[in-house]
């Protein structure tokens, strides 16, 4: 059934989603977008009138974690509302169709909805050796991405792999994997980093698009500012312990049991921006730091390389092994200089002794 001319309110009513539930969803979205509450009415009105846009969800070098993330979230009724917000035409993980039928559906969207549909990409795209390391139905991921994302109104890169290559691109990146922006330079892309991305943010981007007809304000990585504009450390509930100087020293120690700051356990919260602490996961239940593990900075650019080692605050120094920390190298260098100075001092004293005695002539000028 394509294109769907059904409006959202009609679809929701059919599904038995009542008004109260719908407004609750709109409120959650407005809060996620960091908009003032007066926008709730505007968002609700716009969504009710919106003609369901077509969405295709492509999966390349991925683990399906972003699909799982969005499908398993019940807050804010994402499964009910967002699935109904859009006409979900292609999604390998959940679609009923298979084989040529499914590919034909995708082809039909690209042909009939050119410039109007939304593409969501999950997973990196390998460019090495012509892109042979990921093929679907005999076509390379690169080829499909250029074809589909090049025709889409907007492309949402869901998760790190689609944004910057993610895990697949981590050093040494044998398949030459890159994110969608690099693979399809002309496409209009909004990046939702995170491993996985937070479904609330995906939904909020879609809601913003449907309400205002454009993508939200973005940062230098084309990530929406509402989700990636604030440092995790500044939103963390353990922050008071950080400021006070109360740190977990060891997993399971007294501080860990008391919920102290995880800074010394390698938490990258101070170097990561994301709304993870406020939006949270599993119905807003928890997030990694609340659960007792330091932040890995999973929503940071190329975090597998830049934020590792995960249990140390600083990266390792290039050229030294993985077990030597920058502090050890620095102290070693300082100690070596101190040692050399002592030896040099002794040698200089010896030299002074070996010099011929000063000439007996008195100074010439007075």
């Amino acid at each position: 059934m394509l294109p769907s001319n059904q409006t959202l309110s009609g679809a929701l009513q059919q599904k038995g989603v009542n008004r109260r539930r719908f407004v609750k969803f709109c409120t959650a979205m407005v809060a996620t977008l960091a908009l003032p509450p007066r926008y709730v009415a505007q968002v609700a009105a716009a969504l009710e009138k919106a003609r369901k846009p077509v969405l295709v969800w492509l999966q390349f070098q991925d683990c399906a974690g972003n699909s799982e993330s969005i499908l398993r979230s019940s807050h804010p009724s994402v499964l009910e509302v967002v699935l109904d917000l859009l006409s979900w035409e292609y999604h390998e993980l959940v679609m009923a169709g298979a084989g040529h039928q499914a590919e034909a559906a995708l082809e039909r969207v690209v042909r009939e909805e050119k410039g109007k549909f939304i593409a969501v990409v999950e997973g990196a795209i390998p460019l090495a050796d012509g892109g042979v390391y990921c093929t679907i139905g005999g076509r390379t991921a690169w080829d499909i991405a250029r074809h589909v994302c090049g025709s889409a109104a907007a492309t949402i890169a869901a998760g790190d792999c689609a944004w910057d290559g993610g895990l697949v691109r981590a050093n040494p990146n044998p398949t030459g994997a890159v994110g969608i922006e690099e693979a399809v330079p002309g496409a209009k892309v909004i990046n939702l980093g995170g491993c996985p991305q937070n479904p609330a943010n995906t939904a909020a981007v879609l809601v913003h698009y449907l309400t205002f007809g454009e993508l939200p304000a973005m940062d230098q990585f084309n990530r929406p500012l509402f989700a990636y504009g604030r440092i995790i450390h500044d939103q963390c509930e353990r922050r008071a312990n950080y400021d006070a100087g109360r740190f977990v020293q060891e997993w399971g120690d007294e501080g860990h049991r008391k919920g102290w700051c995880l800074y010394k356990m390698g938490c990258k919260g101070p170097q990561a921006t994301f709304n993870c602490p406020s939006v949270r996961w599993n119905d807003g239940t928890s997030w990694p730091v609340k659960a007792g593990h330091g932040c890995l900075g999973c929503a940071s650019h190329r975090f597998w390389d830049t934020r590792s080692p995960f249990y140390d605050r600083l990266p390792t120094v290039p050229g030294f092994g993985a077990d030597v920390t920058a502090g050890e190298i620095g102290l070693g260098v300082t100690a070596a200089v101190a040692g050399a100075t002592v030896i040099h001092g002794i040698a200089s004293a010896v030299r002074d002794r070996m010099r011929p005695p000063a000439s007996p002539e008195p100074p010439t000028k007075a």
């Binding site: 230098q220 440092i231 950080y242 400021d243 006070a244 100087g245 109360r246 740190f247 020293q249 501080g255 800074y263 010394k264 990258k268 170097q271 650019h301 190329r302 830049t306 934020r307 605050r313 600083l314 990266p315 120094v317 920058a326 502090g327 190298i329 620095g330 102290l331 260098v333 300082t334 200089v337 101190a338 100075t341 040099h344 001092g345 040698a347 200089s348 030299r351 002074d352 070996m354 010099r355 011929p356 005695p357 000063a358 000439s359 100074p363 010439t364 000028k365 007075a366």
Partner: protein
């Protein structure tokens, strides 16, 4: 006019002053002030900075504000350090010939020969030290390197601070840096350069004592008072060398 002595390898030592010492005002006030206001903040910055890297004092309950206090002191002394650094940079262009930028940049052959002499002296290839009124050429390039390191510390420090502080001015001034280098590597750089200051301070104090002993001209005191006591003919020679440049 006195004959310019060849600053060459194997030059003869002047074990004792050949003429009576003259009191010379070598280090002007801005040089001394910036010296100490670079040194003292570096001590404070190193301590608080190392604590921020590895909070070795862990509070146990109570109403402490340890990390926040350390960060506050770090930021304040950082700005004192920047001010002193800028003063010294200004004095590169206003200062006398011993503190001017020309004394630091090794653009002349004489300076490279001087470096060779100092390397030979430090590595015991020559017995004696060539005396200088201002900095010797090797010391001068070392200071230039340290000034460069300080500049890197300032830039990386401001970049890190801009991430915390936000606002509108700082991110515009320094925002290009975190876009160029990932914040984790900026932190690594900021941390590692600290150790070059440690190594430098050890060497600097040692060589100051050593050279002061060799030249017997009040070098150590000069960073407090500004005055050195230089034999008259050395002073004339220094002036002649500078004029010849």
């Amino acid at each position: 006019m006195i004959e310019l002595r060849q600053y060459a390898w194997g030059e003869v030592h002047r074990p004792e002053a050949t003429s009576a010492p003259v009191r010379v005002y070598v280090w002007e006030l801005p040089v001394r002030v910036s010296h100490w206001f670079i040194f003292l903040p570096i001590v404070v910055l190193s301590f608080t900075g190392y604590y921020m890297h590895n909070p070795f004092i862990v509070a146990k309950g109570g109403t402490t504000f340890m990390m926040a206090t350390m960060r506050f002191i770090h930021v304040v002394s950082g700005f004192v350090f920047i001010a002193a650094f800028l003063l010294r940079m200004y004095w590169f262009f206003q200062g006398n010939s011993w503190s001017n930028w020309r004394a630091f940049l090794p653009l002349r052959r004489r300076q490279w020969r001087g470096m060779g002499n100092m390397v030979a002296y430090y590595s015991f290839l020559r017995k004696d030290l060539v005396h200088h009124v201002g900095h010797n050429a090797l010391a001068a390039v070392t200071y230039l390197l340290m000034f460069t390191f300080m500049l890197i510390e300032i830039l990386t420090g401001l970049a890190l601070y801009s991430q915390v502080r936000g606002g509108s001015v700082l991110p515009v001034l320094i925002g290009w840096l975190p876009r160029l280098i990932d914040i984790q590597h900026i932190r690594l750089l900021h941390f590692c350069i600290m150790f070059s200051f440690f190594a430098f301070v050890i060497h600097h104090v040692y060589s100051a004592v050593l050279v002061s002993w060799e030249e017997r001209n009040g070098l150590i005191e000069s960073i407090f008072t500004g005055y050195k006591f230089v034999p008259g003919d050395e002073l004339e020679e220094d002036a002649a060398v500078r004029k010849a440049d």
